[in-house]
């Protein structure tokens, strides 16, 4: 199932002299997509950078045991997703905020972002996304921004396609309501 380019990179990664070169190529190939996937979840650049680096360190340690029955990027997305959720969970525990307050923290981070303009629809959209529960936010981001097919999303999030479609539908409706009433 692995595409040829990734297959070649994995072969190189398993050969000691080319290990680092292959790993660098994998990072270069997927870093932007994964960065934005993480950034949309954690909002701040520093946090996104930490999560991205941690996830690639885990990739380095686990890549040799990667079973080639799925796409490399599906596997990478899954690690990035888990790392993002773990980070948000840790942050929630550290600041001991309730579930209701969690979105407020992320919304405040959006409002503190460089160039934030509450009147612009793009920023309203970001605020609306942060109001969603973490898993619904993931579903929305993967479909809306990354335009991933439900089949891929199902592999990444280990959820049925039907549940993902319903979740995306709810998320989009909630976001629209938020934007209209903000």
């Amino acid at each position: 199932m692995l595409n040829l380019e990734d297959k070649e990179l994995l072969v190189q990664f398993k050969e000691t002299p080319h290990k680092e070169k292959a790993f660098t190529a994998i990072i270069k190939k997927y870093q932007e997509r994964l960065y934005w996937h993480i950034r949309r979840m954690v909002v701040e650049h520093e946090d996104a950078n930490d999560v991205l680096q941690n996830m690639f360190v885990k990739v380095w340690r686990g890549l040799e045991n990667f079973r080639e029955d799925s796409q490399l990027y599906t596997w990478l997305y899954r690690i990035a997703t888990n790392e993002s959720l773990t980070f948000l969970e840790q942050q929630k525990r550290r600041s001991s905020v309730s579930i209701d307050e969690e979105d407020t923290g992320l919304s405040n981070k959006v409002k503190a972002s460089e160039g934030f303009d509450a009147n612009k629809l793009e920023w309203k959209l970001q605020l609306a996304i942060q109001k969603l529960p973490a898993k619904q936010r993931l579903v929305f981001n993967l479909r809306y921004y990354d335009e991933l097919p439900y089949e891929e999303m199902s592999r990444i999030l280990e959820t049925s396609e039907g549940a993902l479609k319903a979740s995306y539908h709810h998320a989009a409706k909630k976001i629209e309501d938020f934007i209209r009433n903000y």
Binding site: I27, Q31, R39, V43, V57, H169, E176
Partner: protein, 236 residues
């Protein structure tokens, strides 16, 4: 038929090839071909496995476009407003982040994972097992000892209790009545002054002692035949 054959034969002999070619065309042809081959190989090149991967790339593009259309159509049905929004990133990130980030990541992942020697690990397991053994034996011994002590104390208390109970049972009612009467008499004969000296009485006594002279004390000792009277200091 014969006439046609004659005409063709004449053409063949008169002008074998009606087409003309440049002068020394065939002399220069090999060089010309070689130059073209060389120049072609330098100007146009394809990445390795380009043609092998071409179909995959094209299919990928088709799928991406299809998926993009699917996402658009799906969202159009749910929320046309969201579909009208610009999907560009509103968040900023440091300049050249992705260029420098790759280097950081490679540096970071090189940080060696501490590998433990197998024999060292085995020694550690044995050491841990020995310590655990000692702790287990010690706990058992203490537990046994504590149990024995507890048993001893319990039986000792039981023995004393039994002994006292038996002694009390052996005392007759008359004896008990005598003891109680005796206690009553003692309490009645005890005056407040003899039993308890209030603090003000002690103070009075000290005041009285100060009034008594040395001569009076010496005379008191002589009367009572107490020796070495001279050695007694007045303040002692």
């Amino acid at each position: 038929m014969k006439s046609e054959y004659k005409i063709l034969n004449n053409i063949k002999t008169e002008n074998a090839n009606p087409f003309s070619i440049p002068n020394e065309y065939f002399e220069g042809l090999p060089i010309s071909i070689l130059n073209r081959v060389k120049s072609k190989s330098f100007t146009y090149s394809t990445p390795p496995d380009y043609f092998e991967n071409l179909s995959t790339q094209v299919l990928k593009k088709i799928n991406t476009v299809n998926e993009h259309n699917n996402v658009f159509e799906e969202l159009e049905a749910i929320s046309a407003l969201l579909n009208s929004l610009n999907k560009t990133n509103v968040y900023t990130l440091p300049t050249d982040y992705f260029e420098t980030n790759t280097i950081n990541l490679v540096d970071r992942k090189i940080t060696p994972v501490k590998k433990i020697n197998t024999s060292f690990r085995f020694t550690k397991i044995i050491a841990a097992a020995v310590v655990m053994g000692f702790i287990a034996i010690g706990t058992l011994m203490i537990f046994n000892k504590t149990s024995k002590n507890k048993q001893f104390i319990t039986s000792y208390k039981q023995a004393i209790k039994t002994d006292i109970e038996q002694s009390v049972l052996q005392i007759s009612d008359a004896e008990l009545s005598n003891v109680l009467d005796l206690e009553k008499n003692i309490t009645a004969n005890l005056s407040d002054e003899t039993t308890i000296l209030p603090w003000q009485n002690i103070n009075n006594l000290q005041e009285e002692i100060k009034v008594v002279t040395d001569e009076e004390i010496k005379a008191y000792f002589k009367e009572n035949n107490i020796e070495n009277v001279d050695n007694i200091s007045p303040n002692s």
